[in-house]
Subunit: 260 residues, 2 copies
DNA sequence: ATTATACTATTTGTAAGACAAATAGATGTC
DNA sequence: GACATCTATTTGTCTTACAAATAGTATAAT
């Protein structure tokens, strides 16, 4: 098996007779080997060289093939794992496998990024609520057109769960997320789902705060019920209005709570 | 410094006269040490334990503090690096630093995820174009309201660059991205930027295909000019129409090219 | 013959130690 | 004082070794 060429200017490959003539000082890349390997593997995966469920070569084999050490390969694999691209299993018939990235996981990492931005002050809650307002118009319009009975049933399920006063605050927030997810699911557009999941998850802290601090579930529930009814009626204008009422409510409660 | 406790089952379960039926796969923490450390560090960062620009303890110190080996710490750090949370510098006064995540980088990783979904068939181009159509309405409306002269100047700059027939196909696509980014920038909403950057980047392959295969730049440019003018006129209806014309154009050319 | 058990081989997970490379700061020379 | 050199620190990489999980296989017991 041929070793692949690497753009490294480090020269500890004493024992290996690698042709270093390709090293071009003008195009020296300082990025670490693990990063380069991660890039190459990622490229191989997204370009279809490895399909979903495929097993990558073993770490030893990769190390050998790339002419690097196993720790370096592992660092690369961990980078990919952090992106939910691969997952490792031990044992024979184990290895590093290309995994099917799910909307949920991807949106999860996105929302992680979003909460990061919030936590670091680059984004604030008001902005997120506003973004939801800006983006929802087309979504809801589309949802009204495309929602199937299955979609509506999903929304009803989520709503039913949050009507139960016994459930915990965490469970209520979960069902709130489920409600809004189901709502954007009913657009039937995967990209919209992908993107809106992010916005929805970025709003979790607000809902969380309202439920735990303000201790007010009924207003949220009744607005949700209102929205569901408008969706069933296929009335996008009223649906949009109800959603805006919900956002107004969230915003008001949030500002109230952040003053104190 | 005391070692932190870890949920690892090290040696105890060795010899196997033990009844393993009690083992509940779901409750046992099987996550690797590097993953746990990555989680802890991430938590420490987002919760404000480390601020932007702060230097984490050295890898040796982290290894000591967590009671693990340096490779394990490094795998954890590479996970964080893959999320653009930390960056390493060598030398004295070097170390692993918490970095300010930029919209560009985050959107870059998002679009990476999106291209992944496209590459694996979970999303198709038509869907992305449609998503753009669904989401743009509110954006453009908001952009018309909030665009400053500086924003408009940015858009003009991008447009000017792509008018130059000398530039390469890659440069043209770059300026196309810059154009659309500048357009959503003019909404003035960070979350909208964050989210729309993703959609924009997911559309790069289409633009790329049109420019390199269909070899048609003038139509795109003139539609861009039209949009800019409508933005200057603060006419969101016409702006939306022009954008839809552009999307129609992209869709038509894409379907034409994918037939052949 | 079938079932349960133990073994073996394979692959990832973790550890420890060593050296290379980069780089900021201190030191010394002119 | 300016410049070169040395030194110490920290990440980057390699090497080797062993632990842990697990699928497959062989073996023993019923």
């Amino acid at each position: 098996m041929e070793k692949m060429s690497f753009k490294v200017q480090t020269t500890p490959f004493l024992k290996s007779n690698i042709d270093k003539s390709y090293i071009d000082k003008s195009s020296i890349v300082k990025s670490s080997i693990s990063k380069q390997i991660a890039e190459q593997l990622r490229e191989a995966i997204v370009s279809g060289g490895f399909k979903i469920g495929d097993r990558l070569p073993t770490e030893d084999e990769l190390a050998q093939r790339y002419g690097v050490s196993r720790p370096s390969v592992r660092e690369a694999l961990k980078r990919l794992a952090a992106q939910n691209l691969v997952r490792a299993r031990r044992g024979p018939s184990g290895g590093n496998f290309v995994v099917q990235p799910s909307y949920e996981e991807l949106a999860g990492s996105l929302s992680g990024a979003a909460t990061l931005l919030v936590g670091m002050g680059a984004l604030d809650i008001v902005e997120i609520i506003d973004a939801r307002r800006i983006l929802q118009g087309g979504c809801l319009e589309h949802a009204v057109k495309n929602a199937t009975t299955a979609h509506i049933a999903d929304i009803e399920t989520a709503l039913e769960r949050q009507r139960n006063p016994e459930i915990s605050d965490e469970a209520f927030c979960q069902s709130d997320v489920a409600f809004h997810r189901a709502l954007v699911d009913s657009t039937g557009n995967g990209m919209v789902r992908f993107v809106m999941y992010t916005v929805i998850e970025a709003l979790i802290p607000v809902t969380n705060m309202i439920v735990t601090v303000v201790r007010e579930r009924s207003d949220i529930i009744s607005l949700h019920e209102e929205m569901l009814q408008h969706l069933i009626d296929r009335n996008s204008v009223l649906l949009n209005q109800s959603m805006n009422k919900l956002l107004d409510y969230l915003l008001a409660k949030f500002e109230l709570a952040s003053q104190s």
